[in-house]
């Protein structure tokens, strides 16, 4: 309680650096990969750089665990390490590691030069993890840009195919537009409250009469973030981008950046207690679920099918945003974890079956997979059952927590829409299972044996999916504790 607090601290302290340690580790490893790229010869670059990137993501995971011992604010209250940020850091790092493991085989098969690819994944992960720990809107914007730009480029990495470039360009153009919306919202919020710090904004909005400008600001930010998570009506880019982008990258960008953006959304909606959120979210959630599921019904391309399903899942997730923070926040966090596990796993299988040039991605190519490759088919089936929401998979409890949070907030209408949608959704996931098991095998679609890296990736995501389905308690309790810290 003396002058030292008022004195602006000019030079960052060691503690400040600890608050961004995982990001530093990721940046360093990303740069190492880039620097080494011209030095190793092309044949071996894939192997060497992939391993370095994998080590980088694991080192960042270790840094996160180390960092969790020192919670608190850093860098002039711009970043905050708390159990909330730790949760999302671990999620992003785990997804990154699994995606790198998946890419290992994929890159060799597609004959893509490895260098920038792995570097960009690490840089993207940097942006995503920063998004979850930033508590200042401008920093959040910067982190969002780091993550988005990396994914724009990654989406266009199959340079030989036109749809990949189309995917990248489309993603870039629409994505920039959305980022602008977000920035506009930040500016309006600054105008309304005089600050860009989430904590200060939250206090200001609780104390005073809420200015109209704040409503508009929240709406603009929501539009920007809603685009990033692919919620309807800002979802039209998703199917095209997912179809064109490399399969492991689709697994990446449908989970990690999405989790990070949802983390930002959680902070803005709940920590700020954003005004007027319930009805805004109600409409967007109902639209996303319905449009996503109805769109998925008629898809023949597996990647497009899962793209539409991801729109629907964004809708289920948003239901929890309309609920109360005590139940809503843990529900969202749990949902993101289990969705990450099952979706990354599903895309790992798809990237393996796709083969060279991703030729085999239609439903017909999966005919008789249960016979040609029983193990892969069984694993994909479990991921699909989890996406449907069948018990003892993570997907079930994810939906369960979301729906029960909504019921406790008396959002019966939204729950009914959600339940009906899950019934519709079971049809198209089931279609894929039916095709795999109940049709005659297509002899002309080859299935190569599963390499070690992919096997490890599948084992991790499968294990997580089942773990979250059998013993969801620990993860949920952890998520619930983070909220009690917010509830003031």
């Amino acid at each position: 309680m003396n002058a030292a607090i008022d004195m602006p601290q000019v030079i960052p302290q060691l503690a400040d650096y600890i608050r961004i340690l995982p990001e530093i580790v990721l940046a360093v490893f990303g740069m190492i990969v880039m620097l080494l790229d011209p030095l190793v010869d092309e044949g071996r670059s894939q192997k060497t750089l992939g391993i370095i990137a994998l080590i980088g993501s694991l080192a960042a995971l270790a840094a996160t665990l180390f960092q969790s011992q020192y919670p608190g604010l850093g860098f002039w209250n711009m970043v905050q390490v708390d159990s909330f940020s730790i949760f999302f850091h671990v999620l992003v790092m785990a997804v990154t590691a699994v995606v790198i493991l998946t890419s290992y085989e994929y890159m060799a098969m597609q004959r893509i030069r490895a260098g920038e690819y792995y570097a960009l994944i690490l840089m993207g992960a940097l942006g995503m993890s920063l998004m979850s720990s930033a508590v200042e809107l401008v920093l959040i914007f910067i982190a969002l840009e780091i993550s988005s730009i990396s994914t724009y480029i990654l989406a266009g990495f199959r340079r030989r195919t036109a749809i990949s470039s189309e995917s990248s360009l489309k993603y870039f153009l629409l994505g920039s537009f959305a980022t602008a919306f977000f920035l506009y919202g930040v500016a309006l919020m600054f105008g309304a409250t005089g600050s860009t710090s989430i904590t200060v904004i939250g206090q200001a909005l609780r104390l005073e009469r809420i200015p109209v400008l704040a409503y508009v600001g929240v709406a603009f930010m929501f539009v920007g973030l809603g685009f990033k998570v692919g919620a309807a009506p800002f979802h039209v880019w998703t199917p095209d981008v997912y179809e064109g982008a490399p399969a492991p990258i689709v697994g990446f960008m449908s989970t990690a950046p999405k989790a990070a953006v949802f983390a930002v959304l959680l902070r803005i909606m709940f920590e700020v207690d954003a005004p007027g959120r319930v009805w805004l979210i109600w409409v967007v959630a109902a639209l996303s679920m319905t449009l996503g599921n109805v769109g998925a019904l008629v898809q023949d391309n597996v990647k497009r099918l899962l793209a539409y399903s991801s729109i629907a899942h964004a809708g289920y997730l948003l239901i929890a945003f309309a609920a109360l923070p005590n139940n809503g926040v843990p529900a969202v966090m749990f949902y993101l974890a289990s969705y990450a596990a099952m979706n990354v796993g599903a895309f790992a299988v798809i990237s393996h079956i796709g083969g060279e040039g991703e030729r085999y991605v239609t439903l017909q190519d999966y005919e008789g997979l249960g016979r040609r490759s029983p193990l892969l088919a069984a694993i994909l089936t479990i991921f699909l059952l989890s996406l449907i929401g069948i018990p003892i998979t993570g997907g079930f409890f994810a939906k369960f927590y979301v729906f029960s949070a909504a019921l406790q907030a008396n959002l019966v209408g939204l729950v009914i829409i959600g339940v009906l949608n899950s019934a519709v959704a079971s049809y198209y996931y089931l279609r894929l299972i039916v095709v795999m098991y109940m049709r005659d095998a297509r002899e002309d679609v080859p299935v190569s044996p599963v390499p070690v890296g992919l096997g490890a990736a599948l084992a991790i995501s499968l294990g997580t999916t089942i773990y979250l389905g059998v013993l969801p308690g620990r993860v949920l309790d952890y998520a619930a504790r983070t909220v009690s810290a917010w509830a003031r």
Binding site: P374, I390, F400, L407, V415
Partner: protein
């Protein structure tokens, strides 16, 4: 209670699953796989006999209970237990599974390993449905039955198997969504999934807003069960599923899966919502009667033997629903007894149909005729089990139907009268089919050389015939365990009735 008693239900439920996991590791030697599946299912049957042998007959309430916390949030318990009704359904399941293994010995010769794994997983799920006393656990097992059954139909079935499997899956899946919504509502208001706790909370009026929601909750559960039974007009999935399913699939589908629906009505609709059951009984009874008569009439004109048996199931299950919603001791006793006897006799009929299909690859009744001459043993077994199904006194079908009808008479005479015609219809269609298939001259020369039953097939049929006879001669062995359970289920109704009289 010894520790063995406590873990008995866990053992009986999960031994088939453990067997399935071991099968995964087995080499692909088809004969070993079949033998192993047979041993596992027999072991489970023998173990499950522990339940009726050490069951405290006079005692109401659940026995062999086990109740441990599984997940703290949501508050889910590993809570299992059986009363007189569910215990016999468990034994019915373990009784039919080894027979299914035997009957599939030769007819399944591709992807043998997958088939027996699915069969054993299905058995675990089925037993789980009957022993679960935690609504969440119940819902989990309920959904878990769906996947192996759909795969058994879809992979190992006949011509239009994929269509039938998807139809089966979607019908049940969509219907159980309503049940899930009702379960979630109850959880949101009571904070528990425990059946007994929720039952008490409702009876003591501790659930807020219950009066307004009760009818919807009742319907949520009822729709899920009605599709499973199936009650007219939700029955259209059943003939497709039966005709396309392999024999073992049909046996378990008719023998056990359909009973999940009627068991659910008895346990959950009556247990949790007595007043709503009472006020909705009139239209449910009418639907049951339509099911009995309509099912029988459609069965009469079926040219396909298996479809005929499938429609006869709709008719018989109508009796069960009629008995349950008569709210009389006789009716409920009878309903439970019909569940068991229908499982045995219809299971037997499907096995018999499967045996002839293995020889001729058709179910068309017109393809046969005069089979009694080349296959006398087969014809005798068919006659015996068919008479059990028709409801000949001293065989099992008679006891249950008689009790149901007397219960229905007590409720309202017209229900009993209309229901009784169902017995006549079933004699018509089954005897007529028997006549066309077995009597007269052999009309198709191929049928002249058909081999009679093999030792394995006899081994599968003898137990059904014996059990059908014992159940018909000494039903008291079953009923003295069922009685107390039914009395408990009816307790709120007698209270309800006396309260109404009091007014």
């Amino acid at each position: 209670m010894s520790t063995l008693d406590n873990s008995m239900l866990t053992l009986v439920t999960f031994i088939p699953l453990a067997g399935a996991l071991l099968l995964l590791l087995f080499p692909r030697r088809d004969r070993d796989i079949r033998l192993f599946a047979l041993v596992v299912s027999l072991l489970d049957f023998v173990l499950s006999l522990h339940l009726p042998v050490h069951f405290q007959r006079a005692q109401a309430g659940f026995q062999y209970e086990i109740n441990n916390q599984w997940i703290s949030n949501p508050n889910i318990h590993y809570h299992m237990g059986v009363d007189g009704v569910s215990m016999w359904l468990v034994v019915l399941t373990t009784f039919l599974t080894p027979l299914c293994v035997l009957i599939s010995w030769k007819s399944i010769n591709e992807r043998v390993k997958e088939f027996f794994i699915l069969l054993l997983v299905l058995q675990t799920a089925l037993i789980g449905v009957f022993v679960a006393l935690d609504l969440f656990l119940f819902y989990f097992f309920w959904e878990a039955t769906l996947i192996p059954m759909a795969l058994i139909i879809g992979i190992f079935g006949h011509g239009r198997r994929v269509y039938a499997a998807v139809k089966f899956f979607l019908y049940t899946m969509v219907a159980s969504m309503f049940m899930l919504a009702a379960i979630l509502w109850l959880y949101a208001k009571t904070g528990t999934f425990d059946f007994v706790a929720i039952e008490n909370a409702i009876r003591n009026g501790q659930v807020e807003n219950f009066a307004g929601a009760a009818t919807w909750l009742f319907l949520g559960f009822f729709i899920a069960f009605a599709v499973k039974v199936p009650i007219f007009p939700f029955h259209t999935w059943l003939p497709d599923a039966h005709v396309e399913a392999p024999t073992a699939g049909s046996v378990l589908l008719a023998g056990v899966l359909l009973k999940m629906g009627t068991y659910g009505m008895l346990r959950f609709n009556l247990g949790l919502f007595p007043e709503q059951s009472r006020s909705n009984a009139w239209w449910i009874m009418i639907l049951a009667l339509i099911g009995i008569i309509y099912g029988a009439l459609v069965a009469m004109v079926q040219p396909n033997m298996k479809k005929l048996i499938a429609y006869s199931s709709i008719s018989h299950l109508g009796f069960v629903v009629l008995g349950i919603f008569s709210f009389t001791q006789l009716g409920l006793d009878g309903a439970t007894f019909v569940m068991l006897s229908h499982g045995v006799s219809t299971g037997g009929l499907f096995m018999l149909a499967g045996i002839i299909y293995e020889r001729r690859h058709t179910y068309e009744i017109a393809e046969f005729g005069g089979l009694a001459a080349p296959m006398p043993v087969y014809a005798t077994f068919f006659m015996f089990i068919m008479l059990a199904s028709v409801g000949l006194p001293l065989l099992n079908g008679f006891v249950g139907e008689f009790l149901v009808l007397s219960g229905a008479f007590r409720d309202r005479a017209i229900y009993g009268i209309l229901g009784a015609t169902g017995v006549i219809w079933s004699a018509c269609y089954l005897l007529w089919m028997y006549q066309r298939v077995f009597y007269g001259k052999v009309t198709h020369p191929v049928n002249l050389t058909l081999p009679d039953l093999s030792g394995r097939e006899r081994a599968a049929l003898w137990p059904t015939a014996v059990v059908a006879l014992v159940m018909g001669v000494a039903p008291i062995l079953w009923l003295n365990a069922i009685d107390p359970a039914v009395q408990t289920a009816l307790a709120p109704f007698t209270q309800l009735a006396s309260r109404m009289v009091g007014r």
